[in-house]
Symmetry: C2
Subunit: 506 residues, 2 copies
């Protein structure tokens, strides 16, 4: 019997999946292992593979197969139909952009990634500026073409690429809700916390010890080290593929908490990857449902769980064992006070739950200006500092903790920060349902048991892959579309509490 | 003006080069970084890329362009003509093998690589055996098809793939020369050395310190760490690409000399890669001239230079500085006596200059038997032990230091060990000419100056890439085709010397 058009498509996408896995590995290597001088060579490799993936998607053969499979859709089951829809989606995105642009973007961002590292290490933004300008130009072209092809506004097209189904309207609605409440809430919390003394934790902890601690926690949470790695890099991220997940984190000897929470953040995403439907692993429908949902899993573990008393009860003995610390400042209540301490600070990855969304908002506004041509890359430092002052009433000491702190723009990722904010609010919304669904989840976490948490997430979120649209998925699980309400409820409950563990006792 | 067929070919091969670079990185990662459980995922990625490289070479488009470029060959310069010849060569090799076999080989060897690691770590050959049997079957098919396509005997076709232009006749001639003289020479040297006491060097040296020492030596020799890395793995090798060279070595805390010499061996190959003609870097003619010549560069640095008094004079203060050692056993003469100590031992990478070729001979004979179907993979341990006894009058304590010591067969590399022996004799032949061409090269090395050595090699060997056939290249530089004579002269001069640095004084 002849192989059906749908099955032929599955074969094509299996190859595509393998190429993308190779791409992911090359990118991980470039960020973690590759010597600086090799950016040119790597750029050519990435360009060749990106171009190949693109070529594979836009062949007349795939177009023909898509049409024929669509015509016979009634013979397919739910998953297959969703897979077909995702295949078409990928094709539509690819065909909107010419191959030459794909290649140029790959080459230019490979170089910009290295320039970003150099600029950071030398503390000189001008090392990155010209290359970043070029990236902005290329992304602008891409957004315009993608928008044209998909019938979306240019920026919406970029958002749709990263977080399928999300729009600027969704983002603006969320940001509006946050911008209305957060500044006031931050002031209230700062007043409240002014009367609550916190013991500072000192100490310099070797990175090797921090790594061992992180390793044990990841293992307990369920990260399978036979299917993944933990490494260090300038920019924390989760790379690789569901079958070979590469978590990258940044440890600071003088500030182990940031490294620990950053690792949790990435582990949340890694656990999501690992919970994707195995049988669909090499197909579009088996992939994650985009950046906003990825980020929600990161925020759920890194922020909501990681900054809970329950987690700290589990963590505290580990700190004593791995870092050899003890004393009043290492007691659970003091650690909790430290981790929920609100502070207007310049660095996003060190920001608390309340100020973090404002960091995102600032980036959202700046990247729109960059893409609209209203802001030149070379003028970014001043614009950044002014925006930070307007939003958080502070200025960074230098560009390294200012506009050089994130690698995203250099890597060509625009539309990424608003997806993160969507992730933040979705995390709170999911966690509300999770607490109702998993009795005693905090007690479990305090005992170092993560099976209840993971099981619920796998059953309600991870296991669906890209089968449902994100709105549909979130509504299905929480009863409501993604919005800021649950997040604000969560923040008010946690940060305006009187003194003890009221919110977690439920 | 239309792009000429030759220029179009250059574009095709530039893409191919990028894919091969990605492949090299995936292989390096699999050997050094990848978690064990990911072999399946990696296998699919390797298969997809291998198949793509293969597909690229065998397209009708490339065939047409090759013919048209050939018809207009008079318009090309020497390098371009040689490039065209190498392109055709690669195409001829590719077209002889079906794509399905390429994919199966990539998948099976990816798995076998992991099984080899497991088998080694558990000391159980049976973990590898079934998978190795499958690899042997696939390589046998490949050799038959390749031989058919190229008009060569199957084994010759494999040799030609690794070391273009070399044949079983060349190999047999060299082995005949060596097998005639070496056993007797080994006995003579053993007698001679029996009367010369050597002080043993003890001490356990942390791998981190050995790595620092290796790093400094590589840097002094000219390895550019902004274009390459040094890592540790189960099997030492040099991976990556000329613009991003990945040296992998194995440090043993109880035996730092093996790690050091192994690193030198790989560095010799790396320096070769780095000396290839830059302007042709992405083209077939800009590649290295195959395994035998690669190996010659490894042997020249790892054996001839690395076991010379001159090198030890440079090394000795470094040992004191990095490892904190001193005393009579660490004096140059004692180290030299140690490094030129002949000993019948089971492990190839620890073998001395005299017994090493016999290790290769044994492998050459066994792999021919495996491919001919005269020896089943499961019977390899017994056959190995018997062969070692016949050639070197010893038996390995176990399979880890027996037939599990090399990863080559598991990775599908057959025809590789005889290329290594060709490399060994070529190294000696080149070094004879080099000594005549670079006045005082030993004095330079003793001072830690490697520019004279590298400069000569780059001028006479590295810089030619794949422009000339290997016979032609060696004849051009040394006045003779590759043969065993210079190597035997070198061994006799060095190992039958009375006592002092006679051979190096010249």
């Amino acid at each position: 019997m002849a192989v059906s058009p749908y099955r032929q498509l599955e074969q094509e996408f299996r190859r595509l999946h393998a190429f993308r896995g190779a791409l992911a590995l090359l990118r991980w290597d470039a960020a973690v292992m590759m010597p600086r001088g090799c950016a040119d060579v790597r750029g050519e490799q990435l360009a060749a593979l990106e171009t190949e993936c693109h070529a594979l998607l836009i062949t007349p053969k795939v177009a023909r197969l898509l049409d024929r499979a669509q015509a016979n859709e009634q013979g397919l089951d739910d998953w297959q139909r969703a897979n077909l829809r995702e295949m078409r989606r990928q094709r539509d995105h690819a065909i909107a952009i010419p191959a030459t642009l794909v290649g140029r973007l790959a080459r230019t961002t490979a170089l910009a990634g290295v320039k970003w590292l150099e600029a950071r290490q030398q503390g000189r933004f001008e090392i990155l500026a010209p290359c970043l300008e070029e990236v902005v130009h290329l992304v602008r072209d891409k957004a315009a073409l993608l928008g044209q092809g998909l019938g979306l506004a240019p920026y919406d097209a970029l958002v749709d690429e990263l977080s399928p189904g999300m729009t600027t309207a969704d983002i603006d609605a969320v940001f509006k809700g946050l911008a209305r409440r957060l500044p006031g809430l931050i002031r209230e919390v700062l007043d409240l916390q002014a009367d609550r003394p916190v013991l500072p934790i000192g100490g310099v902890f070797p990175r090797a010890k921090q790594r061992q601690l992180a390793h044990e926690i990841m293992k307990t949470i369920g990260f399978p080290f036979e299917r993944g790695r933990l490494d260090e890099g300038e920019q924390p991220f989760t790379g690789g593929m569901p079958g070979d997940v590469r978590v990258v984190t940044r440890f600071d000897t003088a500030d182990f908490l940031t490294g620990l929470l950053g690792t949790l953040h990435e582990t949340g995403r890694a656990v999501y990857y690992l919970g994707l439907p195995q049988t669909w692993q090499e197909q579009p429908v088996g992939c994650d449902r985009g950046l906003a949902l990825q980020e929600s899993q990161s925020e759920l573990l890194g922020m909501i769980v990681g900054r809970s008393r329950a987690f700290l009860r589990y963590l505290q003995p580990l700190l004593e064992r791995h870092l050899g610390v003890r004393g009043a400042e290492w007691e659970v209540e003091n650690l909790y006070a430290l981790l929920t301490r609100v502070q207007r600070s310049p660095v996003r990855v060190r920001a608390d739950e309340l100020t973090s969304p404002l960091h995102m908002l600032l980036r959202y506004e700046l990247e729109q200006q960059l893409l609209a041509g209203e802001l030149a890359a070379r003028d970014l430092p001043d614009a950044w500092n002014a925006a930070l002052e307007a939003r958080l009433e502070i200025r960074p000491a230098n560009d390294v903790e200012g506009c050089l702190q994130d690698a995203h723009w250099a890597s060509g990722s625009f539309g990424c920060f608003p997806s993160c904010v969507l992730g933040t609010v979705i995390a709170a919304q999911l966690f509300e349902s999770l607490r109702a669904g998993v009795q005693g989840v905090h007690e479990q976490i305090a005992r170092g048991e993560f099976a209840g948490l993971n099981g619920w997430l796998r059953q309600h979120v991870h296991g669906f892959g890209a089968k449902a649209a994100i709105h549909e998925l979130i509504r299905q699980v929480t009863g409501k579309p993604p919005g800021a309400a649950a997040f604000l409820r969560y923040l008010e409950g946690k940060y305006l509490e009187d003194s003890d563990a009221a919110t977690e006792a439920a």
